[in-house]
């Protein structure tokens, strides 16, 4: 079995400070991912140092404005644009902001709705 993993819940206002701290501590940004849970959205920031993961989770509503961490990690723009385009969550201050054109999907914000097994939205 692989090592156990923990995810620390933080507030939206802590996202940038935690990213800057991770950057100072020598972590690389591994990914930012979003999950729809009921009416809420979980965004998990994953950092890695020497193959040990550091995970932070925020829980937001779709109209929450989430600050960008692209100031600390230049490469965050791919994940933040993806979250905006697939989930409709606004990320403010992205260094390269595609303004909704990163993914050209037929359905706007397709991951913001849950499809049941029968196909009902």
């Amino acid at each position: 079995m692989m090592a156990a993993q923990t995810i620390t819940q933080i507030a939206v206002g802590e996202v940038v400070a935690k990213a800057e701290q991770a950057q100072r501590d020598g972590y690389r940004l591994v990914q930012i991912g979003c999950t729809k849970i009921g009416d809420d959205f979980e965004i998990i920031y994953v950092y890695d140092k020497d193959f040990v993961l550091l995970n932070y989770r925020i829980t937001v509503k779709q109209d929450t404005v989430v600050p960008s961490i692209s100031g600390a990690y230049f490469g965050a723009f791919v994940y933040e644009n993806e979250i905006h385009d697939l989930y409709g969550i606004t990320v403010s201050g992205i260094n390269i902001d595609f303004k909704g054109t990163f993914y050209r999907t037929a359905i706007k914000h397709p991951f913001s709705v849950t499809i049941t097994k029968e196909g009902d939205a």
Binding site: M1, M2, Q5, I7, Q23, R28, L29, V30, Q31, G33, C34, T35, K36, I37, I44, V46, F51, L53, N55, Y73, F74, G75, F77, V78, D85, I96, F98, T101, F102, Y103, R104, T105, P110, F111, T114, I115, T116, K117, G119
Partner: protein, 359 residues
């Protein structure tokens, strides 16, 4: 300052088999800025966890990519097994490792052929793909598939390999090793190749780390980031050291992949010598309840499958971060300062798999 012009590169381009678009901002012939665009073929495969049970979904996970398909399925089932606390049979772990390294050989030879073709080195292209056929033949003989193998399942693997076939595979790989040595020597010691690639598209070690580079893109810049070092599958029982080059240029990234061909053969040889007898799968009941970041090393670098289940047959979330996705920011950086004519070669040195990134 010269007048700046923007030249569109892709998504259709003769040396670019993948739909990646780059807006290249040029001053004279020099790239001074790059804006990447993907999303032309986004499939939303992750969304299908809502319609497919977690045991069925492994077939979709495998179809995320047509090159490193097996390792996607391996990463997915590894995450499910971790959440469910399953200790799969040791023989299955060895078999997964063998097929994973065969996938790496197949992918690196595919890349070498495409890259050589992109540079006009046709003999290397043809020989790389000729050797790749042997790899695909072994995959077909042991799994029934050449690209989509379909052998990974939650709890183990669907097929075993006989000792006689393992011996035959080993003999084939040892014979191929000599041919690979000739091929990579010709490629890496060719004056034109060296002249074209050395000092081109340099990604410094600190930039590679900060920008999130993975795989040969990171290791070509001196970073020993290789998830095989974490010991997943049978890697905790295999002697293995990541291949690392220091120069960070196009040549270094090519050299990493060339040397990794031999590392993969060595890993397969160790697996074949150490593989224990026993079952290759186990009975699995219930459904995953929890979350896990499953990581493996694909040919292009670290891949992550985030899996979240709630005890029901359908997962809550499956999110894949592919190596090419995280190699886009480094690509933007290493293209700055190169000549327009070198852009295709530089792009090919990160071995982009946009189909994978557009899962």
């Amino acid at each position: 300052m010269s007048k700046q012009i923007t030249v569109p590169f892709g998504p259709q381009h003769p040396v670019l088999p993948e739909p990646l678009h780059l807006d290249l901002v040029l001053e004279d012939e020099t790239v001074v800025d790059v804006v990447p665009t993907i999303g032309y073929v986004h499939r939303g495969l992750e969304k299908l966890v809502e319609k497919r049970e977690y045991t069925e979904y492994v077939f979709i996970a495998e179809r995320i990519c047509g090159i490193c398909s097996f390792i996607h399925s391996q990463t997915y089932v590894q995450g499910i097994e971790q959440i469910m606390g399953l200790e799969i049979p040791e023989r299955a772990q060895y078999l997964r490792t063998i097929w994973g390294e065969y996938s790496r050989l197949h992918s690196h030879l595919l890349w070498l052929g495409l890259f050589a073709d992109g540079m006009g080195f046709e003999s290397v292209f043809m020989n790389a793909w000729r050797l790749r056929e042997h790899i695909l033949d072994d995959l077909e003989a042991t799994t029934g598939g050449r690209v989509i193998l379909g052998v990974c399942k939650v709890g183990g693997v669907r097929k075993d390999i006989t000792p006689e076939k393992l011996d035959e595979m080993l003999r084939g790989l040892k014979a191929m090793e000599r041919e690979l040595q000739d091929l990579t020597n010709v490629f890496l010691h060719d004056n034109s190749v060296s002249h074209r690639l050395k000092g081109l598209g340099v990604l410094k070690k600190e930039d590679a780390y900060q920008l999130g580079a993975v795989g040969p893109t990171a290791r070509g810049s001196g970073l020993a980031i290789d998830i095989r070092s974490t010991g997943y599958g049978a890697f905790d029982r295999i002697n293995f050291r990541p291949v690392v080059e220091q120069d960070g240029d196009c040549y270094a990234r090519c050299a990493v992949r060339a040397r990794e061909l031999f590392t993969s053969i060595d890993i397969i040889e160790q697996c074949i010598k150490k593989i224990p007898d026993g079952p290759v799968d186990m009975k699995v009941t219930g459904a995953p309840d929890g979350e896990y970041f499953s990581r493996t090393e694909q040919p292009r670098g670290e891949v992550i499958h985030y899996i979240k289940g709630n005890g029901k047959k359908n997962l809550v979330r499956h999110r894949v971060r592919t190596p090419t996705f995280t190699n886009i920011p480094p690509l933007v950086t290493l293209l700055k300062g190169v000549e327009l004519a070198d852009v295709p070669v530089v792009v090919l040195t990160i071995d982009p798999c946009i189909g994978c990134a557009e899962r």
